[in-house]
Symmetry: C2
Subunit: 355 residues, 2 copies
């Protein structure tokens, strides 16, 4: 059995402004520790899958930085989308390449910008998912056992009955809920967080795309004829121009009756905001997480990042301060999601130098 990985690394990550920029989104940043998030993602999956079998789908802007950060990945494995068309197109594009090598290869699809605390548990789950997906020809998703009524994640409702240990058929997918709904999900006991990680055979996912997204499949069929040819990238641009921007969840997973979920507990987060970075960071006795050249006095429960400049914070609690060379964010922790408003403002004002 042959295995491949597809790492989806096209995100722009505006929620981490001003550290994340169009050229340097979240997955390319060192948010925690020594490695960038994509370096950690590759490191984790390379415990199971050889570097030469790891594909990374990204865009023109990020391509060079990704090559720099991941010299162990063959440069022909960096797939460049001409523009983002959501996860269905991204996965379809990478899958025809993998299918061309090994039609029945199992493919592990991973976002580039999540964190996972218990890597050993993650590896065990992925191994189990690979075996299950190969054997059953099912579409397998990773569902995370929820620890709180989070409103920032999508949910997966599982069937009652276990197919195998911790593996269930999926009843339904649910969008990000409001708080009350999230509480009900948690109480019911059969909802899991949708991690956005998928495991399936290349031939299976292409069949499912053919069934549920025939327009995408038509585009992919065209591209299959140009695989390994000089004009492939040019054809990708032509085909992408005609594709709809649809997620694999919406386009395939919610429509297929061949979907399974593995219940997992490996300390996962998609790190969706500075608040979540604060929550996941090591804190000192005052509840502060301090990074870079800074001085605090009378400060509690705050996250402070000072890139090269010196930062002083006095007499404040529950604040996020992100001080980069050219742009600064100062936010109440409860307003961490409003970073989008800043990015929208910068777009509106065409202040592209800060985007």
């Amino acid at each position: 059995m042959k295995t491949y990985a597809i790492i989806m690394a096209g995100g722009v990550g505006s929620r981490f402004w001003p550290r994340s920029r169009e050229k340097m989104p979240k997955q390319l940043l060192k948010i925690f520790g020594e490695n960038t998030m994509i370096q950690d993602t590759v490191k984790r999956i390379s415990k199971i899958i050889n570097d030469e079998d790891i594909f990374i789908v990204t865009n023109k802007i990020q391509k060079d930085e990704i090559k720099k950060q991941l010299p162990q990945i063959p440069s022909e494995n960096i797939i460049v989308e001409p523009f983002g068309r959501n996860t269905a197109a991204c996965i379809g594009l990478a899958s025809i390449i993998i299918h061309n090598f090994h039609p029945d290869a199992v493919t592990v699809v991973l976002p580039a910008d999540h964190i996972i605390r218990d890597v050993d548990a993650f590896v065990d789950i992925i191994r189990k998912a690979i075996d299950f997906a190969y054997k059953t020809k099912g579409l397998v998703t990773i569902g995370i056992q929820p620890t709180r009524p989070e409103t920032g994640y999508g949910y997966i409702q599982r069937e009652e009955k276990e197919v195998e240990e911790n593996i269930f058929k999926v009843k339904t997918f649910a969008e990000k809920p409001n708080y009350q709904t999230a509480e009900k999900f948690i109480e019911s006991g059969d909802f899991l967080w949708n991690s956005g990680m998928f495991i399936w055979r290349a031939d299976v996912i292409l069949d499912e795309i053919k069934k549920h997204m025939p327009d995408l499949y038509e585009g992919l069929e065209k591209l299959q004829k140009h695989l390994m040819k000089d004009d492939f990238q040019k054809q990708v641009e032509l085909v992408y121009g005609m594709l709809r921007s649809i997620s694999i969840d919406y386009g395939v997973m919610e429509k297929s009756d061949n979907v399974y979920v593995i219940r997992s507990t490996f300390g996962w987060s998609d790190v969706g905001s500075w608040e979540e970075v604060y929550q996941l960071s090591h804190k000192d006795d005052n509840g502060n997480s301090l990074h870079g050249n800074c001085f605090v006095d009378g400060v509690k429960n705050s996250y402070i990042y000072s890139e090269n400049n010196f930062t002083a914070v006095l007499g404040l609690e529950n604040v996020i301060v992100i001080n980069t060379d050219d742009a600064l964010l100062v936010a109440n922790r409860t307003h961490s999601q409003d970073v989008r408003k800043v990015v929208d403002y910068l777009k509106m004002k065409k202040h592209n130098e800060y985007l």
Copy 2:
């Protein structure tokens, strides 16, 4: 009657870090409007005194910037102290130069970094003080009618009886009080804020220094022999090395029985903190005073200054954000005085680039 001005511009202004630096202290900054504070100070007094009769006492570090900001002041009028020795030495040094030109000239001594709202009222008061000081040979101070029990200023207690309209003999000087004492001062009705502005004849202040600070007078006498000579600056260095660091208030004013105060109401502030800058600034409907390239959302009653970088502030009230090219201050408005702690920290850590 000949008049001169002495503008004391040697302060380091650490309370305005990170905008104020050793090379660029408060008086050299545009805190309000188009002009720097020393430019405003010179502009005000030049309504009464000719530019060529205005002397500025400063130090080596600030000299060039002062010449740049005040091209109308003859460069020989910029007096350079080798190091700061408080106001008594500063005033003594400038006074022997003025005394050499016109022994009975009236000298207006002004700090370089105060703001005055009603310039016409200020001019009237200074004219009145000049006439009074010339005529009576008294030491005249400007006392500001208090508007609140301020603990950041020194106070002057006046005698009951008016000598002339709004002019009183001084009963006593009081250091910065605590809040309760400040309240009593206000209730009593005979206390005024000590503005640190003085008006007297050159011969009179030198006589008073001779009487109350004989050691300083001895040094000044030595220097008088070197006035207008090539070695003057070298002699100043020698003499300054032996001087005590004493304020004119403590060294002369509190000891002399020849001291008057003019009660004034021209909208004065010594602008002692970022909080006071906020108080004195124009505010928008949310009570914010915003300067430079910034975006706010859910922000109230705050002062935000963004030098060249872009600054975004979200969901905070009563904060001060001062974002300069290399250093950042984020402070609760109530902790505005703690800026000194930052400066102390930087000194301790020898981070001289931020001082």
